[in-house]
Amino acid sequence: MTWNPTASYTEPEYGIGAMIIGTFMVSIGALAIAVPLGIGTAAYLSDVASPRVREIIKPVVEILAGIPSVVVGFLGIVFVGPAIAKVFHIPNGLNALNGSILLAVMAIPTIVSISEDALKSVPRSFTEASLALGGTKWQTLARVKIPAAMSGIIAACMLGMGRAIGETMTVLMATGCAQAVPHGFLDSVRTMTTTIAIELGEVPFNTTHYYALFAIGLVLFIITFIVNMISEMVLHKYQKVVK
């Protein structure tokens, strides 16, 4: 659990438990914010908005995806951090909550565009059948289209999560990076990505510490690989069902 590779009086320790917890905490927090907002926006675009409004909003959401992560992190420092500090009366706002909010902003465009595609590719006959039975448009959306598009939506959320887990700069700048197991969202956390970013520049080549950082990279690679594979498989299965 403890990561302390530069201990001078005791044996150096190379445990990455706290980082894995930190990574998942920040990513799951981000999903908790991004999933409802993202699916809500996608449903709005596919079912409520007029074609003209949709043509305007879709590129605007894409702009959000184009903002470099370091700019998002910068806003975490200058705006979200102080705001959190004020709301919760804590000395500084660089913590897991800050990271989650920023990662949510970055994951939303992915979730919106893939969920919208999924909702759009629900066959028309499903919608028509529901409306013909006297369902309102809302009932059709909530009880027919969303369940039918569920695997596409799940894939969208998994991809958003993959992005959140692998994001470096935003969390590096906004979460405070304290090395301890976090107890809540107002604690500072350190993720796997940030540990690599902070320490790789300072370690001598070919030491245990150096290889430990690459090992973190490997764990990170495997985790994102699994998350992406699952979303790929879910998406594939869903495309088959639709066809």
């Binding site: 907002l37 903002i67 370091v70 806003l75 939303i108 991809l159 970013a197």
Partner: protein
């Protein structure tokens, strides 16, 4: 009013609130950076070296560094990306090997950027002994953008109707002639759109260049591809977290952020216009 109708109105308004929140977030980000960064932008800021421990002066080396690295990224990812896409879509047979290649490419596009950074350190900086420099950083970013370029280019090639290929082949053209004269002219703008979007993402990335060549503070321009360099995103990171007088340099950080998002959006806009023109020519 019936309960069901009330439910529908409530539900749709809830969705509308979600959409408005997302738009407001974007509006706020843009407003904050533009309003606080615009005051810093001047000819001097864009064309001067940083002075006095980066507390004064401009960001010219960071701009030049980012442009240079993006050019190297483009040189690596455009020919290889488009070549791989042409191979996969036009030549490769649909067997287990190509399926494996496609799956690997899709998974590579989801690999975290910092992992590419680690890979760049091992391959370019150490194994190939290029050192930390513009070239290493550009090659690392190039590797990172390759999967995006390949996927987008393949998508563009898929959209060319098969009759175009068959027409040329029926007239006795070789396969390559058919691709060159009948397929590429129609696919090229789609391929470029995807590539430019990939490059704009690469230009804004920080994690892969952290250890492969970006420098904290260099009051001169890189003189060769083997020099270290300053880059806009890394400069913004330094200015907002590592500088010893953080509050004093905040305007510079805002200015840098504004220049960075302007550059990235300009590339995105260019790609969008390309796509729009493509769609128009298709409809005609």
């Amino acid at each position: 009013m019936k309960k069901r109708q009330l439910q529908e109105i409530l539900g749709f308004n809830l969705l509308r609130v979600c959409m408005v929140l997302v738009l407001l977030t974007l509006a706020f980000i843009l407003y904050d950076i533009i309003s606080k960064g615009a005051g810093k932008i001047s000819w001097e800021f864009l064309t001067a070296m940083p002075r006095n421990g980066m507390k004064e002066g401009g960001i010219l080396p960071a701009i030049v560094g980012t442009v240079l690295v993006t050019v190297i990224t483009a040189i690596l990812s455009i020919p290889f990306g488009m070549g791989a896409a042409i191979y996969l879509n036009e030549y490769a047979k649909d067997n287990n090997l190509t399926r494996l290649i496609r799956m690997s490419i899709r998974n590579l596009s989801g690999v975290p950027s910092i992992v590419y950074g680690l890979f760049g350190v091992i391959l370019f900086v150490q194994a190939m002994n290029i050192g930390t420099c513009v070239l290493s950083a550009g090659l690392t970013l190039g590797l990172m953008t390759l999967p995006w370029t390949i996927t987008a280019s393949e998508e563009a090639l898929k959209n060319v109707p098969n009759s175009f290929r068959e027409g040329a082949l029926a007239l006795g053209a070789t396969k390559w002639q058919a691709i060159r004269t009948n397929v590429l002219p129609y696919a090229i703008s789609g391929m470029l759109t995807g590539t430019i979007l990939g490059l704009s993402r690469a230009a804004g990335e920080t994690a892969p260049i952290l250890f492969t060549g970006a420098a904290f503070y260099l009051p001169f321009l890189p003189r060769s591809l083997f020099d270290q360099f300053m880059a806009l995103p890394y400069h913004l990171y330094i200015m907002s977290t590592q500088h010893h007088a953080i509050t004093q340099v905040r305007p510079i950080a805002y200015g840098t952020a504004l220049v960075l998002i302007t550059a990235v959006f300009a590339m995105n806009l260019f790609a969008t216009i390309l796509r729009y023109r493509l769609r128009k020519t298709k409809m005609e």
